[in-house]
């Protein structure tokens, strides 16, 4: 390991580090704009200059690898003078519009100008002005502020895999733009806002909304997909104003999807802020007592076998546990958390988890995607797959509809039958998997929602066993289920599945349509066919007025994910705790408490009075829910049901990335994204045809 001297201290660091990284390890902060630890090195801002003994010129520490015997000075008058010089050059063409700049207060240039800036300008010519560029409905651009660090270009090409940003012109005329100013077609585009060290790229929906020091910051968990991205919710008063990523290298690194970041305006619209009861065919505002009384009137005296419950995609573990206990108390076996009808079993746990873990993708060397389009189902996870692809030696195969995943793949087949052919070894990709050290597969919901879901699950299990994806010795388990719903794994963990003689989602809907089910409880379930609920009495508990609420006979207003302390289990089985950022609006309440209160009215009082007691009860069945933010390897076992594999093409269950749940359907920003994408699609047919 090379030994070098930094500011008079001899240190030994790993070879391959840069001088900047070595300095950071010593706790020495080096100012920088273009350098970012998750992007390639550009070395063009020159802010990280340090002095190196033997070099007549300063060196850019971000781009200089450490070497034996180097003598680095980071804190001499000479170094300060050099950095001041760089800062003066950067500020020559940077507008002095901090008071009207949205980056103000969280701007790298502003902060570093405090340390290295000069209090006046020696530049008396006209400053350069650059026309703003259109980059879509999410990113606001004020390109005069750009300092050409190229972080956004590198992010788009490397992480997002959409090489659409670039620098045109040169020298003073260099400008960052997309080709002919098309909107960026990435589900991760919002991250360039965080990466931009100045106010050139800012959030369009958040423009002129708030200053960072006005905001209350809550570290919590996202529910827009099953990844459980770690987020920070910035709120003021009762409003969530924006969502930013938190760093968690095991889950989302430091990226979040555009839906996670920008759907938060949906939390302010279409909210259910008071109970409603349907009277004479119309939903009328009511109070809690009236709503509970209406439910009690209908439920008391109804046999348990005629009561059913369906759980939606955003439900927290606490509400699901309370719902399950309530249904059990009512003697109702018809309960299902798989509202999309995906075939998943409750046992063993490994049958429905992303067993390799998300970070484990980086250890894999071959991957078969089955009925999944991770780019729309979990864009941040897709970025991890792309990262693995960029590292080299990663073969990806796809069974399902072809899609642009941002990395090349071998299109192995389209139908579940093609999975059978791989199993039989009839496709060369089977050999790739078999020859791999750590092969993995990603089973999407699209593969499990068909009539042959059980058979697909069994075939995937057999494939995993056949090609050596399950190896406890390494240890390695490459059998991965990629969920699309944040609630799903928690629901399966807690056993929100049909009991003995219980009906699944299809059965419940059939039963409601034919009159075999009288009462249906929807816990935030909006993505089912409401028309098939027939004459059933529908109770909808949720936070946003969507399909479920408009069909409901009684609406119980619940809390959204930013409004309650709640546990969510992500697709890899990691239980994470969300914290309340703001209070639920109006009379809305935390969901578990609503169910607890309802149980009281129904005379089936649930045995817990606080969330602590409820969580203790949950941790009895699911110990991992007592150990937040850890992943426990799940035992392998038999699951699935062998059967004929169908010839239907496997399609991702997500038709439109921006419209997957009630919150994003209520979001204006998401609607704008849909329109922008539609506009691009029209454009394509116009020019490419």
């Amino acid at each position: 390991m090379p030994k070098l001297t930094i500011d008079g201290h001899e240190v030994e660091v790993d070879p391959g580090l840069t001088v900047l990284q070595a300095c950071e390890l010593q706790g020495i902060e080096i100012p920088r704009f273009c350098y970012h630890e998750r992007l390639s090195i550009a070395g063009n801002c020159r802010m990280c200059l340090v002095a190196m003994k033997g070099s007549p010129k300063p060196i850019a520490s971000c781009a200089m690898p450490v070497a034996e015997g180097m003598v680095i000075e980071t804190d001499t008058p000479q170094v300060h003078k050099m950095r001041k010089g760089v800062m003066e050059f950067l500020l020559i063409n940077h507008p002095l519009d901090c008071p009207i700049c949205d980056q103000g207060g969280e701007c790298d240039l502003q902060d570093q100008a405090m340390a290295y800036g000069f209090d006046r300008s020696r530049y008396h010519e006209n400053k350069r002005a650059v026309e703003d560029k259109y980059m879509g409905p999410l990113i606001k651009t004020i390109m005069t502020r750009c300092i050409h660090c190229t972080r956004c270009i590198r992010f788009a090409s490397e992480v997002a895999g959409v090489p659409e940003l670039g620098a045109t012109g040169r020298g003073e005329h260099m400008e960052i733009t997309t080709y002919l100013e098309h909107a960026m077609t990435s589900e991760l585009s919002g991250n360039v806002i965080d990466l931009c060290p100045v106010g050139a790229l800012t959030s369009r929906p958040y423009a002129f909304v708030a200053r960072p020091w006005e905001l209350r910051k809550t570290e919590t968990i996202d529910v827009m997909d099953a990844l459980g991205s770690n987020i920070r919710v910035d709120s003021r008063g009762s409003e969530v104003l924006r969502v930013l990523p938190r760093i968690n290298d095991d889950v989302n690194e430091e990226w979040i999807s555009d839906k996670t970041r920008f759907a938060c305006d949906g939390l302010r619209r279409q909210r259910l802020d008071r109970p409603y009861v349907r009277r004479q065919g119309r939903l009328q505002p009511a109070n809690w007592d009236e709503a509970f009384a209406a439910i009690a009137e209908r439920v008391n005296g109804t046999e348990g076998s005629r009561i059913a419950a369906i759980v939606g995609d955003l439900a927290c573990a606490e509400s699901m546990a309370a719902l399950k206990d309530l249904m059990e108390a009512l003697g109702a076996p018809h309960i299902d958390c798989r509202q999309d009808g995906a075939y998943l079993e409750g046992e063993p746990r490994s049958s429905y988890l992303f067993n390799s873990t998300i970070a484990g993708i980086e250890a894999a060397d071959a991957c078969l995607l089955i009925g999944s389009n991770p780019r729309v189902e979990a864009p941040v996870l897709n970025a991890r797959l792309r990262k693995r692809y960029l590292a080299g030696g990663f073969a990806v195969g796809l069974i399902g509809e072809p899609a642009d995943l941002s990395y090349p793949y071998d299109h192995v087949g389209t139908t579940a039958g093609d999975l059978g052919r791989i199993l039989a070894g009839a496709h060369p990709f089977a050999e790739r998997l078999r020859g791999a050290e750590r092969p993995m597969l990603v089973l999407g919901m699209g593969a499990l929602v068909g009539r042959d879901g059980a058979a697909v699950l069994a075939a995937a299990r057999r494939l995993a066993e056949d090609v050596g994806m399950i190896d406890p010795a390494k240890p390695w388990n490459g059998f991965n289920v990629l969920h699309t719903a944040a609630a799903r794994v928690g629901g399966l963990d807690l056993g929100l599945l049909p009991g003995a003689q219980g009906r699944d989602v299809r059965g419940i809907l059939d039963g409601a349509a034919t009159g075999a089910i009288d009462v249906v409880f929807l816990l935030g379930a909006d993505e089912i066919d409401m028309a098939r609920l027939g004459q059933a009495f529908v109770i909808y508990q949720g936070h946003t007025g969507d399909a479920g609420a408009s069909r409901a006979d009684v609406i119980l207003p619940g809390a959204a994910y930013t409004e309650k302390d709640a546990l969510y289990v992500n697709t890899e089985g990691r239980c994470q705790a969300a914290l309340r950022a703001v209070h639920p609006p109006g009379e809305a309440r935390e969901d578990w408490a609503i169910l607890r209160a309802l149980s009281d009215v129904l005379g089936k009082t649930l045995p817990y009075d606080s969330i602590r007691e409820l969580r203790a009860r949950m941790a009895e069945d699911c110990p991992w829910m007592g150990a937040v933010d850890s992943v426990v390897a799940a035992r392998w076992g038999g699951f699935g049901r062998e059967g004929p594999l169908g010839d239907e093409p496997l399609r991702s269950t997500i038709d439109n990335f921006y419209l997957t749940n009630p919150v994003c359907r209520a979001s204006v920003t998401m609607a704008e994204c849909v329109a922008a994408r539609a506009g691009l699609a029209d454009d394509r047919t116009g020019t490419d045809g």
Partner: protein, 207 residues
């Protein structure tokens, strides 16, 4: 926004390489290792510009991008980086007058002024008959024969206002003026050859 650019795209005629240029393009690509075809972007843009009447339309840039399997923005970056790729239509003859220091010292102001007057256009403009576009350019590397200008692929050197007028008139009439020095010296040999008899070296070379 997208509608506007889309309209722009549709208005521009589609671009495809002629059979001849297609072969030339493949020959250029063949110079680079397999899978490194993107290295050929600059010669291919030049081929496209020549075929497209001296400028690169968005259609041509997109064609090259698809041809080389490159993202469009990457080709756009190259095309905007180099001033010799024209992104606006130009006249049949692109008159590029050097105004860098050596040419300026040798009278390029007068040369440029003559061009402006004689063509009736300002720098950056194209004449109404679409014959001439006038540009001011940086050093073209013929300082020894300053002042000079480039028209098409040819250099015209040792210019004077009169010779400039003659060249432009000839071009307008459809002729092909003789490129190179306009005062008859060969290449960049001294204007006055040294006289072996007297040993003088031709003085300071003033024209």
């Amino acid at each position: 926004m997208t509608g506007e650019t889309a309209g722009h795209d549709r208005a521009a005629p589609a671009f495809t390489f002629s059979a001849e240029n297609l072969k030339a393009a493949r020959d250029v690509i063949a110079k680079y290792p397999e899978g490194r075809q993107a290295s050929a972007v600059m010669p291919l843009l030049d081929l496209a510009q020549r075929q497209n009447g001296g400028w690169l339309s968005p259609a041509a840039i997109e064609y090259i991008a698809d041809f080389l399997e490159m993202p469009r923005i990457r080709v756009w970056e190259v095309a905007t980086f180099y001033t010799m790729y024209k992104l606006e239509p130009v006249g049949r003859h692109h008159v590029q007058v050097c105004t860098n220091l050596p040419c300026w010292l040798r009278g390029s102001d007068a040369i440029l002024g003559t061009c402006r007057e004689h063509l009736g256009i300002r720098v950056g403009e194209t004449s109404e008959d679409n014959l001439f576009t006038l540009s001011e350019v940086e050093c073209l590397g013929a300082c020894v024969n300053a002042p000079m200008m480039q028209i098409g692929d040819d250099y015209y050197e040792d210019l004077s206002p009169d010779s400039v007028r003659a060249i432009l008139d000839d071009l307008r009439a459809g002729g092909t003026p003789k490129p190179g020095s306009q005062i008859g010296r060969r290449s960049c040999e001294p204007v006055e050859m040294p006289d072996p008899a007297t040993g003088t070296d031709g003085g300071d070379g003033g024209v």
